[in-house]
């Protein structure tokens, strides 16, 4: 019992909270449920959950506020639950340090996948400092030491910037990186506030590594938010 992974569900809709809890319990997780932002803070410090599922629309405190105060003292993986159409909110949450987001309405498989990704990242960070020398995702492979990208065994020629973007997304595979965070890490903090150059580079990358740029398998676009390298 004690070694079960604990997940804190912060959700004011009891029905949703209940269904998430049922799904997670039947998948071998332990769950704690709360409906308020205030309780969230004390529950995180007392129970040390492995993952937090945080709904942004809470009755007492704004979900983003909760996120901000938790991030001041804890690096627990937080997955934000948000509705479709609130892209700005998602970007803000990610920039405030949320690990990922999931859009309502979501299916159970999607939820479980996100939780697995969040847990894996946390372990990776906790486990070893040295990042993996290689990242493989289906037919896509990137060798960080040799700086070589291959798709289905064929080497792909990327420009310096393109390689940097692909490498960055691969290191955070499974997670969404916002436009701004990618631009800041590739072009530096003083880059123009315009994400057009990033989009053009992404379009070029897609044409090099995807079979059909309209049906990407490796790098997905989260419209209005950023890009995500898929993770299998």
């Amino acid at each position: 019992m004690a070694n079960k992974i604990t997940i804190l569900i912060v959700e004011d809709e009891r029905a949703i909270s209940h269904f998430i809890s049922t799904v997670l319990t039947s998948n071998g997780y332990r769950t704690i449920q709360t409906e308020t932002g205030r309780e969230t803070l004390s529950l995180i410090s007392s129970h040390c959950p492995d993952v937090v599922l945080l709904d942004l629309g809470l009755p007492d405190i704004d979900g983003l506020e909760v996120l901000r105060s938790v991030r001041q003292w804890s690096s627990v993986p937080i997955i934000v639950v948000s509705a479709r159409g609130y892209e700005r909110e998602k970007v803000e949450a990610l920039d405030l340090g949320a690990d990922d987001y999931i859009t309502k309405p979501f299916g159970t498989s999607e939820l479980l996948a996100r939780i697995r990704t969040a847990l894996r990242h946390n372990q990776k960070v906790a486990g070893s400092d040295a990042p993996n020398a290689c990242f493989t995702n289906g037919g896509f492979t990137i060798d960080f030491e040799k700086r070589i990208v291959t798709v289905d065994g064929e080497p792909v020629h990327l420009t310096q910037i393109e390689y940097k973007i692909v490498a960055l997304l691969s290191r955070h595979a499974g997670r969404v990186l916002t436009y701004d965070s990618i631009i800041e890490q590739i072009w530096g903090p003083y880059a123009a506030d315009d994400n057009q150059i990033l989009r053009v580079n992404m379009a070029n990358i897609r044409r090099k590594i995807e079979q059909n740029p309209a049906e990407p398998r490796y790098i997905l676009t989260e419209v209005g938010v950023g890009y995500r390298m898929t993770d299998q």
Binding site: R199, V200, N204, T221
Partner: protein
Amino acid sequence: MQRPNWLRRLSQLSAPRWLRPDAVKTLAILLATTLSCIVLAAVISSFDTVCLIVIYILAVVLISRFTNGYFWGIAASVAGVVAVNFFFTYPYSALDFTRAGYPFTFASMLLVSVMTSAMTVQIKQQARQSEERERHTRELYSISSRFLAARGGQQIAQAALDCLAGLSRPGILYGGNPAQEDCPVWTRGASSGQELVLRSSGERFAAGWVFAHGRPAGAGTEECTRSAVFYQPVCAADGVLAVIGLLYDDGGRPDAEQLGFLDSLASQMALALERQRLSEEQNAILMESEREKMRSNLLRAISHDLRTPLTSILGASDAILESSGQIDRETHDKLVGDIREDSQWLIRMVENLLSVTRISAGGTATVRKAPEAAEEIVAEAVGRIKVRYPGQPLDVRVPDEFLLVPMDATLIEQVLINLVENAILHSGIPMGAGAPPINVHITRRGGDALFEVRDYGKGVPAGMIPRLFEGYDLQQARSSDSSRGMGIGLSICSSIVRAHGGEISVENPPGGGATFRFTLPIDEVKTIGQ
């Protein structure tokens, strides 16, 4: 009576132009009268003074009729009296007004002549005035009929300029406050030099003054005297609507006729503009009520559409809860599957409704656009469809060129999802691995991005095509459950695309199936080629 030659020459030299023919006419008639009287008096013995006087009065009437003003008639009256006295009364060939009774006769003759002359002139003037009035009415009529045919501000302005052209002077028209930069300006009949004068900042200032004060100014007036243009404001009940200007760069001044013409032009134009505004207001009200009708239709259709899946969800969940253990595994799964399917349908419905609020929140069916990569939007839409319909083969193609299209990404994604879903559900082709794929093709066509969704099913019934995007009339929504929500989905697509300034259409292409296509305008400046 005959004027000496030198006098006539003098009068020719010094008199204004209009005087010359009148003097000749007067002299000619008087001469003819005098000669005929002399002949008549010589031939007919009973010819007496009364006849003479009547003939002279006739001459005076004729002179008054054929000359301008009172002067010649009265002059002829006096000349006639003198001539009768000189030629036909004793002592002949001498003037003598002193004989008994004569002063009275001559005075009467003079009075009658003068009065007749005056009356004739007056009648003539009245005729001329009424002629002028008629011309003015005709002018007004032609102006107003031009304005009547004009629809919209642009056409009204054109009509006004056409009327101005009748004055054969370069004209200018400000369709608003000239002091504002974006005020529309038209000129007519101006050479390039005159164009420069008309559009100079000084003239613009004068026009602005006229707009602000609502009274004429410029050339030939007391205000803005340095201006070479006469400006006439177009005033309506609630202020000045436009300013008309006529160029007098040759130092001329507008005459009374032109002033009158401009005045009536301005008032007719004000009427036309007022009428235009009223009809626009009426249209807005009509549109508002149309929108209101649409909204209530939508609500009705939705309430109906929502009730069906909700009833099924409620029923299925009741069945599971109340007969715990009684129903077999297969039935249980079937019921839960139904609940799931209906919930998914409800979620799609709600997403569509959210799209509608996203459009109408702006009030005027506009959307907040941001440049988005077309391929990314398509990829996300296709991704969502694949989650919902895993077995459905899709053929997705985007151009090699990187297309950056201004749009509201969420809405366009919704359009693509609706169209593909519509193709999946209504093409009549069973879903499966062997089924022909649904094409989702993006191409560039001129300044537009063209999105095409094609299926190879039974096509759209020809009778439905014209009304397909008009939406959910209640009948259609009620007709069959299999097509529930379809009408709403397509009409939402249509509103979204139109709010983006694009066009949506459907056709049954050769080779079977149906092609839905819509365009989105591309902002050229922001397109980056590879």
